[in-house]
């Protein structure tokens, strides 16, 4: 089996959507007797914002965890950059250039905002231990470069004022933003966002939506995000996968999905047989 290739195209707002970056083929994930994901296939293309939506318990987070290596599916194949990805641990997936955030926020609470963001650059450090200890040669150049990148992201996400603040003291909305910064600073090929707007008020949601669009636009980052608030997602994404009870019930542009009868039923709560 090979990956599907599409022609790159321009979106209405002038962004380029490229070839398939990641493809999930017939993924099935079980926890004991419970089937969390049932035979789902979909792809993510370079430069697009791809959303996975669905009601609570639909298996969205499980899908994101499969992509990021936190869960390993019993069946199915994960293809990334044209190659089948073998069984991998989360840290190995991260080293492939797939960065992520978490629904419940996983930050280093004891570190400052800047230190948190700098951990996102760990895989961009290759100087020898001795050089790093005395800030010598390559180590110094790398450190300067990493620091510049971190500052760039800090400016971009407008968190200059809290750079030195310990993350444990920040309010929820800002923590979400710091987590995004840490993922973004790694220069990821694919950025996974697990419910980036969960628990936010309207204003914070608008901010976060703007940042997601800007990240995609400015850095050309491919983004896959999960959300159960349908309204937000429709405005953000290029294409949407809809899940319900572990199955895929819709896949396409927001307009296509919106008119899909199965999707409407799932969201309006039609009784399941």
């Amino acid at each position: 089996m090979t990956m599907m290739h599409y022609e790159p195209y321009q979106t209405e707002d002038g962004r380029t959507i490229g070839n398939t970056l990641m493809e999930m083929k017939n993924i099935t994930l079980r926890f004991g007797g419970v089937v969390a994901i049932k035979d789902i296939s979909f792809d993510i293309r370079e430069g697009e914002i791809r959303a996975i939506i669905g009601p609570n318990g639909a298996g969205k987070s499980s899908m994101l965890n499969v992509i990021s290596g936190f869960y390993n599916p019993q069946d199915g194949e994960v293809w990334y950059k044209g190659e089948r990805r073998p069984h991998m641990r989360p840290y190995q997936v991260a080293r492939l250039g797939i960065a992520r955030t978490f629904q419940n926020i996983a930050l280093f609470e004891g570190m400052s905002v800047l230190d948190n963001i700098m951990t996102g650059r760990l895989n961009h450090m290759s100087a020898s231990i001795l050089d790093q200890m005395i800030w010598w040669g390559k180590a110094e150049r790398e450190e300067v470069k990493n620091r510049e990148k971190a500052e760039e992201i800090i400016d971009f996400l407008e968190i200059q004022a809290i750079r030195k603040t310990p993350v444990g003291r920040l309010p929820y909305g800002l923590k979400k933003r710091v987590e995004l910064a840490r993922a973004l600073v790694a220069d990821p090929s694919l950025l996974l966002l697990d419910e980036p707007m969960a628990g936010m008020n309207v204003e914070e949601k608008e901010d976060m939506s703007r940042f997601i669009l800007d990240v995609n636009d400015e850095f050309g980052t491919t983004i896959a995000l999960i959300e159960h608030d349908m309204g937000v997602v429709m405005d953000l994404s290029d294409r949407v996968v809809v899940m319900d009870y572990g199955k895929k019930i819709g896949d396409g542009t927001p307009d296509e999905v919106r008119t899909n009868q199965e999707v409407i039923d799932a969201y309006l709560g039609v009784a399941h047989d």
Binding site: F108, T119, I129
Partner: protein, 329 residues
């Protein structure tokens, strides 16, 4: 006739030196506690194991010779080369400690990921007894003298200088001075490692949040092996210092008990804290013994450190340098 004040100065200096030795042991605790939340009861035994391994290698002994002789009816005890030079023996001992770190992670803690701290603590108690037994089985249980060529005995320079100044020569052991220098270098290296290197930052990341560490590409397993290796190497340094001072024997593992009050003072999560805590305990117990000891029958060094730690627990439970416990309500 020198007055009390000059005596007190000498006592303080010696206390500082002893404090450095306590700090060396406490350091090993801090390293593991910071990175994995495990309170490592076996740190003292690790020092004993390291020292015995070093002596064993240096004397060219065959490891497990009693066992081998009992099973195969042979008479092996020493390798043909009989003795190994000090620095080479130390290098080999470091290799053994790293291998041990790998084994501890692979066979014990890898299976206990995500368990309650009390369970991890119990595992380290088991580990302590296992290591103690293994050390005996490997190298025999008799008391050894350790000599890796460190200078010992009274420092004549300090003795003469202080004699000129005060008319009374201070007794400071050369070994204690070496220990202080080594400890200072060790701490500087460890701090530089933790602050500036990729591996050190990964270590701090794992200490803080496993999930987040994984998501930035840090292998938990690698970091834990690294941490146990560092703790093993620190144990080796402590083992060399204490072993040179008072011989390599079982009681070496009991110095870990003195590290407890040091940690309570300095904080379980702070490398500088371990040093300062060690110094306070070292000076505190020497001065207390010197000033108050004679009035209450002496031997206060046995309990002073623990009482001081208790007082600290009441007023500053996180220690002097420990991370302040922040709770959002």
């Amino acid at each position: 006739m020198p007055d009390q004040f000059i005596f007190a100065m000498e006592v303080t200096l010696n206390g500082l030196m002893t404090g450095v030795m306590y700090a060396l042991v406490a350091l090993g605790f801090v390293l593991i506690y910071k990175a994995s939340g495990i309170f490592n009861y076996s740190q003292g035994v690790l020092a004993l194991f390291a020292a015995m391994t070093l002596v064993g290698i240096q004397e060219g002994r065959v490891p497990f010779s009693h066992l081998i002789n009992a099973v195969f009816g042979t008479e092996v005890s020493h390798f043909p080369w009989n003795s190994v030079p000090g620095f080479l023996a130390i290098l080999l001992a470091v290799v053994v400690m790293i291998a041990l770190a790998w084994a501890i992670q692979r066979f014990v803690f890898r299976h206990l990921v995500g368990q309650e701290p009390i369970i991890l603590f119990m595992a380290t108690i088991g580990l302590a007894y296992f290591l103690e037994g293994t050390a005996d089985l490997m190298w025999g249980s008799e008391i050894r003298t350790l000599n890796v060529g460190l200078p010992q005995g009274i420092n004549t320079l300090i003795d003469e200088t202080t004699y000129q100044w005060f008319g009374y020569g201070f007794f400071i052991d050369n070994l204690d001075i070496v220990a202080s220098v080594v400890a200072a270098v060790l701490v500087a290296v460890l701090v530089a490692f933790a602050q500036y290197t990729k591996q050190g930052r990964a270590m701090r990341a794992v200490a803080d949040d496993h999930q987040a560490a994984l998501s930035v590409g840090v292998s938990l397993n690698f970091v834990w092996i690294l941490v146990w290796s560092l703790a093993g190497i620190v144990a080796l340094v402590a083992g060399v210092m204490w072993g040179s001072k008072s011989g390599v024997q079982f009681s070496l593992s009991l110095i870990a008990l003195k590290a407890l009050p040091v940690l309570m003072l300095g904080g379980f999560t702070s490398i500088p804290g371990a040093i300062v805590g060690g110094l306070i305990i070292g000076v505190g117990e020497s001065l207390f013994e010197f000033l108050v000891g004679p009035m209450i029958g002496g031997a206060t060094e046995n309990w002073f450190a623990y009482v001081l730690a208790l007082i600290f627990l009441v007023f500053r439970p996180q220690g002097l340098f420990g991370e302040k416990i922040i709770e959002r309500v």
